[in-house]
């Protein structure tokens, strides 16, 4: 079990709604961004003079640009429906981690400066000035929100705390109070092309290594092309897929699927990152700039289709925002959705019976599936609402014999975030990450006890990294989290594969 200098939550058989403990995680704040990282994104390097006025000006600007912010700040009736829905509240017991508690940090300032009632009777309606203390709360608690939208499911007006967190981070960035993790990473994307700062030659090396591994395993020459002009498909995938476990097993799977169909495809060193952290910091400008790399790569490589790898919020930006940010995509093949999710691609092939899948190759695992928050509540797959739940499950069922869902209250659109989304996947927020994972890990633990589940599949790079890191705090193994396309990779019998080599395939899976 991993060592912790904080209390790791105890897993229960039935979920419990904790009593509030005000200030329980007031101490948790991420590292502040350095001036150099701020400058690359167009933000001031440190807290500006006259920051209150500038913050309020920015808030006014956002209120005029985002209907969501205006309507959500006005509409809350404090009914309490959201109060027990946030995984960070359930894990930390801090009432400022209740969605409404978090929103109120901004709402009280909104009321003071942008509503008649708050100007005339601040005490009565809970309106407050943006003091240094309030700014401190903002920095702390708006970085204890993973923008997973679970609260918005249960709100009678659909108030989405993610919108408010994003706006708060945007305001803070504009007065020079940025978060190191997100802003440094966005800078890396601009300079190098991906979140992890892997330069083109390193990518080429890695991909070559993968080709060798797959050849050793299967005897089939599966290619993992980079910057191949004229390829049919541009694959955009989170950079963690290039080397982190279990992510890379997913990438191996995508390549095998492409190989089996015979379609030409390529990765791009320019757009070697599916993630778009511009969303986490609520910056339309930065989100657009990051998204435009994909357009540039698609034009340069003359591809006809764009397919996204397994990544949660990347799929939100891709599915919901890419057409807005970097469209129109009229130069691509209109017979296919732009962009397409790798799961949609693989599912289509399974439907057509084009993949030879041997489920028994995954018999060493009993699977469950974690719906990643941004895929579940902010995107879709396929033609029908809810395809984002059914398609990944259909792929798992087509590749595995043993599959059980977790408790209904914790899957599909009620899924719990892994605890590391929204720009919180950084070691300086470890306590929040571990505590925020509690509701998901609790449901996983129950299905492990009741159904003998051994592994949990996911389609998000953040989920995979987060669980790999936090499961050990709960006494579980870091390799219990797997990629969905890892399961595909295991089960897929390639044309011309040396099938008598079953043992090795099993080793690979374990």
């Amino acid at each position: 079990m991993a060592k912790a200098d904080f209390q790791v939550p105890v897993l229960k058989q039935y979920p419990e709604i904790p009593e509030i403990e005000p200030g329980a995680t007031a101490h948790s704040s991420p590292f502040k961004s350095k001036p150099q990282f701020q400058a690359e994104l167009g933000f001031p390097g440190e807290l500006v003079d006259d920051w209150q006025t500038k913050a309020l000006d920015k808030m006014g600007d956002l209120l005029g640009r985002y209907r969501s912010l205006r309507v959500y700040l006005d509409s809350c009736v404090k009914c309490g429906s959201c109060t027990d829905k946030c995984h960070y509240y359930l894990g930390t017991h801090d009432p400022k981690n209740m969605p409404v508690g978090r929103q109120d940090l901004m709402r009280k300032v909104y009321r003071r400066h942008f509503t008649l009632a708050g100007r005339l009777f601040p005490k009565l309606v809970g309106a407050e000035e943006l003091t240094e203390e309030v700014l401190g709360d903002w920095y702390s608690y708006f970085h204890q929100c993973s923008q997973c939208r679970r609260c918005s499911v249960f709100c009678p007006y659909g108030i989405d705390t993610a919108e408010i967190s994003m706006a708060a981070r945007e305001i803070m960035d504009h007065i020079g109070v940025g978060q190191k993790y997100c802003n440094e990473i966005i800078g890396k994307v601009y300079k190098i092309g991906n979140n992890l700062g892997l330069p083109g030659p390193a990518l080429a090396d890695t991909l070559e290594g993968l080709e060798e591994d797959v050849f050793d395993d299967t005897g089939v020459e599966v290619k993992y092309p980079l910057d191949q002009e004229g390829a049919e498909i541009l694959l955009v995938t989170p950079s963690a897929d290039f080397f982190a476990e279990p992510h890379v097993d997913g990438l191996i799977g995508y390549g095998k699927v492409f190989h089996e169909t015979g379609v030409s495809w390529t990765l791009s060193s320019h757009a070697s990152e599916a993630a778009n952290f511009g969303m986490f910091i609520g910056s339309y400008e930065n989100m657009r700039r990051v998204a435009l790399r994909i357009r540039e790569a698609a034009i340069k490589l003359k591809v006809k289709r764009i397919v996204f790898g397994e990544c949660g919020h990347a799929w939100r930006v891709a599915y919901s925002f890419l057409n807005t940010l970097a469209g129109p995509w009229d130069f691509l093949d209109q017979r296919y959705p732009v962009p397409q999710h790798i799961c949609e691609f693989t599912y289509g092939l399974i439907q057509e019976g084009k993949l030879n899948l041997d489920k028994t190759r995954n018999d060493d695992m009993v699977l469950t599936y974690h719906d990643s928050c941004n895929v579940a509540r902010a995107s879709r797959m396929g033609d029908r609402p809810g395809g984002q739940f059914d398609i990944p499950r259909a792929i798992i069922r087509a590749t595995c014999n043993n599959f059980y869902d977790m408790d209904e209250e914790t899957i599909r659109d009620r899924t719990f975030c892994c605890g590391g989304g929204g720009g919180l996947l950084t070691d300086d927020l470890m306590e929040i990450r571990v505590k925020g994972a509690q509701p998901r890990v609790e449901a996983l633990n129950n299905v492990m006890q009741e159904k003998g589940v051994t592994h949990m599949a996911a389609i998000c790079a953040i989920c995979k990294s987060q669980f790999t890191k936090v499961l050990p705090y709960y006494g579980m193994d870091l390799d219990q989290i797997v990629s969905v396309h890892q399961l595909v990779s295991n089960a897929l019998v390639l044309t011309g594969e040396e099938t008598d080599d079953e043992d090795e395939a099993a080793d690979e899976a374990a």
Binding site: I17, E19, I20, P22, G64, R65, Y66, R67, S68, R70, V71, Y72, D74, S75, C76, V77, K78, C79, G80, S81, T83, D84, K85, P95, V100, G101, D104, T115, L116, A117, L124, G126, R149, S152, V153, F154, C155, P156, Y157, G158, D160, E163, Y284, E285, R288, S320, F321, N323, T324, P328, P337, P339, A378, S379, R380, D383, P385, Q388, F389, D413
Partner: protein, 243 residues
């Protein structure tokens, strides 16, 4: 008495003006503010008809609240549906002749009044006994509940205990249409009832009661899930593309 009637006439003209102008102002603000990104909470309908159905379920049945908190839903729905029936019943004061459906609804309006007060009481109790809800409750949240409970309770009192001359009340409001102030019955309960209703109308556009128009403008509920099929872009975002 006529001085008091004049005051009430002025009050209701003012309250009606604030309600209509304040709400119109808010709605115009909501309409004018763009929603730059597609953010429906998914799974979401892929057609406009589907969105209309989703919105109807939210408005009529409080679907999301039902999923979120059963107790709040029971009390909240009782209150709102009760208030709806009460409002229909009260239309008899404002319409002449009274349409047949409004005549038929009269007894249900009474049940509605009872349900409304019980629902409000339940919602208020939650504000004291659920620690999470107590934490998020501001003074104004209590006061709005008190206001509504007193309005409902005084209405029920006039129905069951201390009757007032409803025909003169109707004449008063009919008179307001043509700028002619009729005398209101000088019953303290009636006067309090009307005073608080006017107050409710005045605070409506400046309080959390904005949740009523707000729901219709909530992007997470009113957007069609079709971002891949149809490009969605706000005017201010389009300007970036021209730079």
């Amino acid at each position: 008495m006529s001085f008091l009637s004049d005051v009430y006439a002025g009050l209701f003209y003012f309250a009606a003006f604030v309600l209509v102008a304040g709400l119109a102002n808010k709605v115009i603000q909501y309409v004018r503010t763009p929603a730059p990104l597609k953010i429906p909470t998914t799974p979401a309908p892929t057609t406009k008809t589907g969105v209309a159905l989703r919105m109807t379920r939210e408005v009529v049945f409080f679907e999301s609240l039902f999923r979120g908190s059963k107790w709040t839903w029971i009390f909240g729905w009782m209150f709102h549906f009760g208030l709806f029936l009460v409002t229909l019943r009260h239309l008899r004061y404002f319409l002449d002749p009274v349409p047949v459906p409004i005549q038929m609804i009269q007894p249900f309006g009474i049940y509605g009044g009872i349900a409304m007060v019980i629902g409000l009481a339940g919602l208020w109790v939650r504000r004291f006994f659920v620690d999470r809800v107590r934490y998020i409750t501001a003074l104004s949240d209590h006061l709005i509940l008190v206001l509504l409970i007193v309005i409902g309770f005084s209405g029920l009192l006039m129905r069951f205990v201390v009757h007032t001359d409803v025909m003169r009340v109707k004449q008063f409001f009919q008179g307001l249409y043509v700028g002619h102030v009729q005398t209101l019955p000088a019953d303290p309960i009636l006067l309090m009832h009307l005073l608080l209703v006017a107050l409710l109308m005045i605070i409506f556009p400046y309080s959390k009661l904005l949740h009523a128009p707000g729901l219709f403008f909530s992007p997470s509920r009113n957007q069609v899930d079709n971002p891949r099929e149809q490009r969605h872009i706000a005017p201010w975002a389009r300007r970036m593309e021209q730079d």
